[in-house]
Symmetry: D3
Subunit: 286 residues, 6 copies
């Protein structure tokens, strides 16, 4: 089972979303047209096949809007669903169900879209042992949720921010006076619990990075033939010590070829910044 | 010129995004590898053609990270850019430029993606007089930004939330006892500055909605032939009094035909919930 | 039944008020003088006749202070009470009851004062069909509560802020180049779910506003004879299409005469910014 | 000069008020009708005579809305103004001036109303040496501002909350087993920097309170003759050691008689919870 | 029983601490290694003798992390414990117990350290009637908790901040033109519920302070012989009217001698700003 | 130069501290006794030798209290100072200088205490190449500041929270079914940028941890002879691949002997949770 996000994070984000949707006047349509004591049974179901993420947020949206609503999880985060499959069963005051509907669906549709896109890449590399990872290219303020959705889709998380791992890119290398110096500076400055990654633009830089003890090397936009060579260099000359990550031009069509080069990780910005929503809907049931 | 978002809203969201990326430890890579007094000149430029949105957020990301950075807007919100066009010129302490880069790009890439998707629909209906509008299907916590991006793309905003307009759907109608009762209940309950929209599923319901004074009627998933008939009914029998909005199955391929039916507004959830990022990048210049 | 405010809004404001009253040291009097396990029964009752508003906030003040307190609503928001009528019955730990008392009374006294003032105007125009509406002249940070209190008193809400409707005043007209241009600019810029109001200073401007499609016209400080003429112009020349709102010099003494001119809405700043508290008190019962 | 409120408090409350008024969509009227580069000169002036409070909040409202606006204080907090007197001169982008206008006026009108009401009581007791004080009967979330306004009107602040002084009332006395025990319990429990007040219902209780070392005694709803007797008892038998405060039925008509009994302080809830707004307006000047 | 801190304050601080420890990714160790449905029984016990404070915060840390955890208080705030004594018994989902452990211990260890240090001073002056008080030298953001811990240790609270009592020091005296003027200025400006303290540097200043009605006099860094003389002056010439507080060089070795001079209060910054943690640990029990 | 904390983090914490000290009433002493236009020059200087940390927070405290104050940094974070050395020179409105003094000193005294304690350990192991590291035993809400202070003292940061590295302890091992399983579970679950540490209680467990690829091994409370043996095992049998960290009973007296065993890192909770304040003071200068 995929570990749940902290309820503290979920409540904060859902509260913000509910306030965004309710404003000061609240749900004026429902207040005018739905009797205060009317109750409803409803389901949230998939209208397209996909992988689910965001169940906790949806759950929380209903609970914070109306404490008397009960929500039953039929398909939890990480579940693969078909068109028509029910994800949540909801029962309680009709006003609350309708008022929270859009926020619940916005979280689940967005996050399930990410999980579904991730799963497509994961499926495409099945059997190669490669991990599909996300990046920091996320919607502002929603990173914890999007990173969680990537895990729901079978992917893995890259660093969460600037704070939890070192990633040395071309500008850092230039300012430090080269790969060796940049790696040494990082090693001296950061704590012993921090991994250090460096981005290289070719096999020459790769050798320098490996020789200077990089934990992870990012191979950006390299041809599969070069990636294969990089894997051999790492294995043969450096005991396979470093983790090799490929990125750039990763699509459902290219990912298998990249995976077959033997790299350890393939990262994609697309799965978080451009995955389309998964189509979900809420329907009243009688 | 498109009106700017309130700086209070921009600062809140950008602060949240920066904290999300900095965590408690900050940008440990830059701290280790970039000298404290190094300066940099950089540009944010388009790597694909598109329409820009989010300039204020990017601007604010640099300013809040490092007060000594100056940012010049070369292409403001709403501008149509080609591959290679510079959007922002940035100059100042190199650490700050690098630390704020990702947050700035995440805002601008996401919002420019929405503006670009909106503009594609707007272009497709050019000359018909139809307005392209968004919905409430937005990323939680980012609605004000996404609604603004829609305007940057030449679109118009639908209601912002549950609070600023009435939208009566099937469940509301059923609970109220029919279209006439639902419209009457809404009219009696909400203030005189609030518009009332009702969703209908066919021409029969449309007549009832118009006869009972709906300000706006949502025609969901109707065939173009029915939409055309709806326009005629509104014009011929009700003095064109109501605004007619079409939604459902709106794509770049279908939107022109829908527009040519004569409806006033076409709304799309896709432009906010599923538009891919516009590819932008930051490059140091010497 | 008047729709309740979102619990998210109520909790935020009540939490702020409790923190304001408790500070860091808390209720030092109660801590010193009331045994930790003492319990109490109390009522909040009216000491003057009036209309109740703010029951939810009072309820929440007790609950957030001490979870073990139970509160029973005897007279809910919108109820008309006489001197001595009980509004809430409260039972639980005596410390909590005493510590939350002032915050609960401050909300209810203030909001019931507004409801009572509103109801006096509503009563005065009974039978005319006129709606009494509030304005944006509210206590900073308490608008959602004050607008709710107006509804409790039988009034209606005007726009909630700058964001949910257009209100064109003299400075906007001057800057736009006249009424026709201002209305056209607004119509082109705002979404199709937004109503447009314009303030006019005489019957000439009224004609121009009506001819250019204003949804609502504000007739500020006009004599009843002019208001009557305005109603006729709207009905006879424009099919009664626009909503007419009168404001200025609205008192309990003048409001009936204004209402009898046939305008649709009368708005008053006084009911929110200057209504005196309704006198309520908490008493222990044995 | 009356000490200013902490800018941290002012910014928080003004930010909250501006967000309340701007919502997510901002000032849609001004965006549509006022050119982005138009500038304006305006004044905020009194439309009725009164005492000013809230200048800082108004100032901050303009600054936070639009940094390019300059505000000049013509009449600062505490100033007595006549109809027509200018309080603030404002110059800058017209959009910002118009967007911030209502928030600025809501703060100043409300707080100046309190200052004006306070000043009326202060004037009425001139020469008696009595201090006019406020209570904790304040609008939730605005206590710091209202307490400040009382000082602008020449009044004094009572305790700010439950935390900064002890106030023993009938329920505390009953639960403690009498006045002597309640005072002893408070003295033992609270720090040496905290004053202890006790409310008494007659001269018998007063003697007991004075004999047991109360710092301040609240004489609630006592007739002037009893108040005079209380003053004598305190002076003759207890060296005038305690501060005597009268409350209850304090109006502009009764306050002089109460003051002339020789009490030290007269407190009024009315000046904060029921004072009507002072009428102020913003006008463009050419 | 020592009064509990307001739950609003506790929840805020514990939420902040939990977010600080969880970040966006949460407890990644526990998620990977502890089965989701595993349960645990554990105790928090003392590993050194001391006085307990912070039980509420620990309790809240477990509850906010995982609602299904039950916590039983075996030794409440203020209890004196020996090595091995159990303070809290905890039972529930193992993940939650482990995830909340550090935050719970950080609060309790820190606050119990303060209570223990306070109690050592309190014990040392036993029988003298002197009160041990803290200062405003506290860890930023934790003052309410540290002041509470002082009370758990048998100490008393000095003023909580700049806002709840006057403390006139040398710079204030100099700027006011002397002790008499400073005291007069303070008396005129602050409300009747506020105590006024003044710091003096010798017996001459003490006399002036007493003659001008100071409520409390701070005798900083005076030799015991001078303190004794100060006590006599206050008693013999001023009826013992002022409270005398000694500070400066207060240690477990010096405090008894200071207490025996007859001062009323001895204040120490050390008990809040430098008390070492009390060693507590969480152990699973089978 | 030690990298500065993000200004966003500093402003948040300093704002919280200032509000904690100002409350709603503000600095009532200064308001009463210091003329509004008085100016002051002051210094913050060391009263004991030590290492400085927290200069940014102090700087920010003055700036947020009174924008017109200028602060010059004479000894920045990380500087070793002697008694009497000036750290900050301050000039501006006297009220602001006095009002912000305590918050500025509370941050700097607390953080410099941590830096000073850290430096003492760092000095004691000089020449051994061992890094001194902190733990998560920090004051709630102040972790970023305390971790920064450790760096100012020449120490290194351990993981910042539960989120940025894996730390497997006895309970995790037991629940997972042993060291090998726990390490495998962690490796499979966490991303490729995350380091994995495991705590072992003896040399047998150490071998198992090394054989299963732990990145870092925590050797808790082991005798120096065992630590030396652990270093040899890691070097001789595992290529020195893992980082070895010793903890437990680390004092200024024991740390050198631990360091000389050859471990890579020594961690101490004491330097954050129990370091006494560094004595600093603010003095006006003429």
């Amino acid at each position: 089972m995929i570990a749940r996000l902290s309820p503290l994070i979920v409540e904060d984000a859902v509260t913000r979303a509910l306030k965004e949707d309710f404003g000061d006047a609240g749900d004026i349509t429902t207040a005018a047209t739905i009797p205060a004591h009317a109750t409803a049974k409803a389901v949230i179901a998939a209208r397209k096949p996909g992988v689910i993420a965001g169940v906790d947020a949806a759950f929380t949206a209903f609970r914070l809007t109306e404490g008397a609503i009960t929500v039953t999880i039929e398909n939890d985060d990480g579940a693969r669903v078909q068109k028509g499959d029910v994800i949540l069963s909801i029962e309680g005051p009709a006003r609350g169900v309708l008022s929270a509907e859009r926020v619940a669906l916005n979280f689940m549709g967005h996050l399930s879209g990410i999980a579904t896109a991730t799963a497509a890449l994961v499926d495409a590399v099945k059997g190669t042992g490669v991990k599909i990872a996300c990046t920091r290219k996320t919607a502002p303020g929603l990173r914890a949720f999007q990173k969680h959705a990537v895990k729901c889709g079978g992917g893995h998380n890259h660093r969460f921010g600037l704070y939890d791992a070192v990633m040395i890119k071309d500008n850092h290398i230039a300012a430090s006076g080269g790969i060796a110096k940049a790696l040494a500076a990082a090693r001296a400055d950061v704590g012993h619990m921090v991994k250090i990654q460096i981005e290289v633009d070719g096999l020459g830089q790769l050798e320098e990075a490996l020789a200077n003890g990089a934990d992870v090397v990012l191979l950006d936009n390299m041809a599969p033939s070069d990636l294969k060579r990089a894997v051999e260099i790492n294995k043969n000359s450096y005991g396979g010590r470093a983790v090799l990550e490929a990125s750039g031009n990763v699509t459902i069509d290219t990912v298998r070829a990249i995976a077959e080069t033997g790299v350890d990780v393939i990262s994609s910005g697309w799965i978080t910044h451009s995955a389309p929503n998964l189509d979900l809907g809420l329907d009243f049931i009688s």
